[in-house]
């Protein structure tokens, strides 16, 4: 007991340390905080949850899913004790069904559409059921078999959700796929983005390994477009090219003292790649600027690392935040304070160290955001900027509108033999599940193109 008392006291001291400091929390508190957000169902829980599905006709949940997973069928397959069949139903539509089960904002997709919401306000827990079914296959032999080699080869640039989905589908059809990624590891945002408590136990990497089990995919990491990798060379060497390069840049705050801010995307990536969370320095007073999923992921994780105060500052009201209500509630439950109607005007430091953030209150008049002239100063040792990602490194010659590569149909760029999908391409929300759908559909289009030509 004495020992616990001592631990608590010393941890409290570390929480109070000003500036950036690692190990603000005791190891067990750190570990607990970063546990699985939605723990896996055991079989009994899955049966009870599955039992609630009505097997709706032309099911709204299926329509709401960007990858159109046959939700009623897979839940019925769980209910009848055939999890492998359930997993197959999911993975046939969405090869990253395991990750999507963890990161999808189900509360705004399938579960929001569930007819039980109308009846009781409590949807069938589709996301957790999907995880139950897909968890079972990760250690089993790869469930799909590759068609006979077609002799065609496709370059897939970017091994994030869109690229992985495209590569798998193309390989399954018998094409030889070379999958390039700029980073040292495949997975894209699954591996480097997304809060750690949504993808525990190195799930993203294990899922990539499992996905590559289809065969026919050569992974080349550390290969960046424009940095050793040249689109024209790839187009000449392959029968088709798919671009799934994501949004590699971040928007700048554009205010004095900007250099004192940390980019939330990098913070999340460092955290995801850290083998020991107690080595990560975090501020005592943290301010996160932004209102999307990245902002929430950064804010919640800052709190879980032991920041005493985390304020998520957004320039409009909560209802306008891109982060879902569920994410906002999660942030609040973890102790993040959401501050509405403020926009940053300056980051103020002292000898290169951030000291405070100055905001101006805002108001929305006729839909337009204006400053009220009234200001607010918050103490801050650390500011995370999360005001959106931008397309960088798009090959010259492609049409780019509103920061996205323009595509039509199933990812066609208008350039012969070149498709694009995922966050870098126009259309759809910037969600993992949308990227998977776009990668898959582009792969089918490429397959049709390659086999028609033959």
């Amino acid at each position: 007991m004495t020992q616990t008392g001592q631990t608590t006291a010393s941890a409290r001291n570390r929480v109070m340390t000003p500036g950036l400091a690692p190990a603000r929390l005791a190891p067990q508190d750190l570990a607990e905080g970063f546990e699985d957000l939605h723990p896996a169902f055991d079989k009994h829980e899955a049966q009870v949850a599955a039992d609630r599905c009505y097997f709706c006709h032309d099911a709204p949940c299926m329509t709401a899913c960007p990858t159109s997973i046959d939700v009623p069928l897979f839940i019925r397959q769980i209910a009848t004790g055939t999890e492998a069949s359930a997993a197959r139903t999911i993975l046939e539509a969405n090869i990253l069904g395991g990750m999507c089960a963890r990161v999808c904002p189900t509360e705004t997709l399938c579960e929001e559409a569930c007819v039980r919401m109308e009846a009781e306000g409590q949807p069938v827990e589709i996301g957790r059921l999907q995880r139950f079914a897909t968890d079972a296959v990760l250690d089993a032999p790869h469930p799909f078999t590759r068609a006979a080699p077609t002799g065609k080869s496709v370059a897939v640039i970017g091994a994030g959700p869109a690229g992985l989905a495209a590569a798998h589908r193309l390989a399954m059809h018998g094409h030889a796929v070379t999958l390039y990624d700029a980073r040292g590891k495949a997975g894209g945002l699954n591996e480097f983005g997304i809060a750690a408590y949504k993808s525990t136990d190195d799930f993203a990497a294990r899922e990539v390994d499992w996905l590559l089990g289809i065969g026919g995919i050569t992974l080349k990491t550390g290969a960046r477009l424009g940095g050793g990798l040249d689109l024209e060379t790839l187009r000449a060497a392959h029968d088709a090219v798919f671009l799934g390069i994501g949004l590699g840049g971040v928007n700048a705050l554009g205010i004095p003292g900007e250099e004192l801010a940390t980019n939330a995307v990098d913070f999340i990536a460092d955290l995801r790649q850290s083998g020991d969370l107690s080595t990560l320095p975090i501020g005592r007073n943290v301010v996160v600027i932004g209102g999307g999923m990245t902002a929430v992921d950064a804010a919640v994780q800052a709190k879980l690392l032991g920041a005493q105060s985390v304020i998520l500052a957004y320039r409009r009201g909560r209802d306008a935040m891109p982060a879902s209500e569920f994410e906002q509630s999660l942030a609040a439950a973890k102790g993040v304070q959401i501050l509405e109607y403020v926009k940053p005007t300056a980051l103020i430091g002292n000898g290169g160290r951030l000291r405070e953030v100055e905001f101006e209150y805002t108001a929305v008049e006729d839909g337009a955001l204006t400053g009220t002239g009234e200001s607010l100063i918050l103490p801050a040792d650390q500011v995370f900027s999360a005001i959106g990602q931008t397309l960088i490194g798009a090959p010259a010659g492609l049409s780019v509108a509103r920061g996205k590569i323009t595509v039509t149909g199933a990812g066609r760029t208008g350039t012969d033999g070149l498709w694009a999908g995922g966050d870098c391409a126009s259309g759809g929300d910037d969600l993992t599940v949308t990227a998977v759908a776009e990668g898959r559909d582009a792969a089918e289009d490429i397959h049709a193109f390659l086999t028609k030509e033959a």
Binding site: K43, H44, Q47, F55, T80, T82, S85
Partner: protein
């Protein structure tokens, strides 16, 4: 994925799941969509004799009973045979069969119990190209009052007679659909095979009243203040149907004769159970009426997954596999001793096992002040009631006592197999050699 292709009476279908003769198979529009959804075959809704078709009531035709969360467990109906003109049905059957040569189409028939009526309709059905016929000797409502349906099925001599006519005037397989509204199902089955039937199918629906409107004091479904008994089907009738299938499958007189199993098949497991008990395929209706044609997809994937797990490469591998294990009570091993065991980690302390055992069984479960429930082996007769009422699957199991150990309840040693026929308490016992 195991191949589910099933051959029944020489009729091949891509899987053993056929839609039973009922509203889902009443018309071309539905049957085509059923085939697109994956059903292996259909038995077309029963055709009647040429002439003005039957009429149906214009009020409710169905009544239901529900489980928790309004899950439909049993359905009854007072609908009659097809109320569309004979020629319309024949034309549609012809067209659908031509377009779906790989699916089974069986035509259900019910005409008056005279040779002329059967002789008249059979050539018309034969001309459709359908794969066989099913004689509806089962419907218990409406048509039975007119001397057809179950009125025929309850008289083995009639079954044999009509089956004989059908074999005489029709060249393809003849399936006789049996009514369960009879005391011993083996008699009509024997009669069907005696008349030359190629197979029997069972069960048709059970006489039933599903509910009573206590304001109107009328059975449901209620037609203008009155109700009549209907035919009961759905998951609730499966145990009755399986027993009847097993009785025919193990009857020496009808042993290994083809059976098409019907009665509450809702999932792949239900189908596998019917088939293990000797059904060469299954027919489904209520599951489709509750969930739509798509429900067959779970049956297909589930049966296939289970067959892969068990190493079965064809449905014929396991059809009838459980038949040798269906026996009479007198042959059960009285020296097989088990005891209930409660998994304390799985137990949620609801106390249902305790209430059931304490109040209605053998007072063999102990409850502590802090709600821990344990089995007293010296009282447990292994009745299984605690297992049955426990809400957590696998929490309570029955563990077999090893031979040579002492049963603490009886103080006797667990011995080798012995049954009632040789038991000392049996006045008719045959002394063991």
């Amino acid at each position: 994925m195991a191949d589910l292709t099933t051959e029944f009476l020489g009729i091949k279908s891509p899987n053993p799941f056929w839609l039973a003769s009922a509203p889902p198979t009443d018309k071309e529009y539905n049957v085509r969509r059923a085939f697109e959804a994956g059903w292996g075959g259909v038995v077309w809704k029963t055709l009647g004799a040429e002439g003005p078709p039957v009429v149906n009531v214009n009020g409710p035709r169905y009544g239901a009973i529900y489980g928790a969360d309004r899950r439909l467990l049993g359905l009854n109906n007072i609908e009659l045979i097809t109320d569309r003109p004979l020629q319309t049905n024949l034309d549609e059957i012809t067209r659908v069969k031509a377009d779906y040569p790989d699916r089974a189409i069986i035509v259900s028939i019910m005409v008056p119990c005279d040779e002329e009526s059967w002789k008249a309709i059979l050539p018309l059905v034969e001309a459709t190209g359908a794969d066989g016929i099913e004689l509806n000797f089962g419907c218990p409502h409406g048509m039975a009052e007119r001397g057809m349906g179950s009125a025929v099925g309850q008289v083995p001599e009639y079954i044999e007679m009509v089956t004989r006519w059908c074999k005489q005037y029709y060249s393809k397989p003849v399936i006789v659909k049996l009514t369960p509204n009879i005391s011993d199902i083996r008699n009509p089955a024997r009669a069907a095979f005696a008349g030359g039937a190629d197979a029997v199918s069972l069960i048709n629906t059970i006489n039933s009243i599903t509910s009573v409107d206590l304001d109107a004091m009328s059975p449901e479904p209620m037609i203008d203040g009155k109700g009549t008994h209907g035919g009961y089907c759905g998951p609730a009738v499966k145990p009755i149907a399986m027993n009847m299938v097993a009785e025919i499958a193990r009857d020496p007189e009808t042993y290994r004769k083809p059976i098409s199993g019907i009665g509450g098949v809702t999932t792949w497991r239900d189908a596998a159970e019917f088939m293990a008990l000797g059904a060469g395929n299954v027919q489904v209706c209520t599951a489709a009426m509750t969930y739509g044609f798509k429900v067959v997809q779970e049956m297909i994937s589930g049966l296939s997954e289970w067959m892969d797990e068990k190493g079965h490469t064809s449905t014929s591998d396991f059809i009838g596999m459980a038949v040798p294990n269906v026996t009479d009570w007198q042959h059960l091993n009285l020296n097989y001793v088990t005891k209930a065991v409660i998994d304390q980690d799985a137990c949620i302390s609801c106390g249902r096992c305790y209430a059931a055992c304490e109040d209605t069984s053998h007072q063999a479960i102990e409850m502590s002040e802090d709600r821990v429930f344990t089995v007293m082996d010296d009282e447990c007769v292994a009745c299984n009631l605690c297992v049955n009422v426990c809400p957590i699957e696998g929490c309570i199991t029955m563990e077999e006592m090893a031979k040579g150990s002492i049963d603490p309840r009886t103080g006797e040693t667990v011995k080798d197999y012995a049954n009632w026929t040789t038991h000392p308490n049996n006045p008719g016992a045959v002394a063991a050699e």
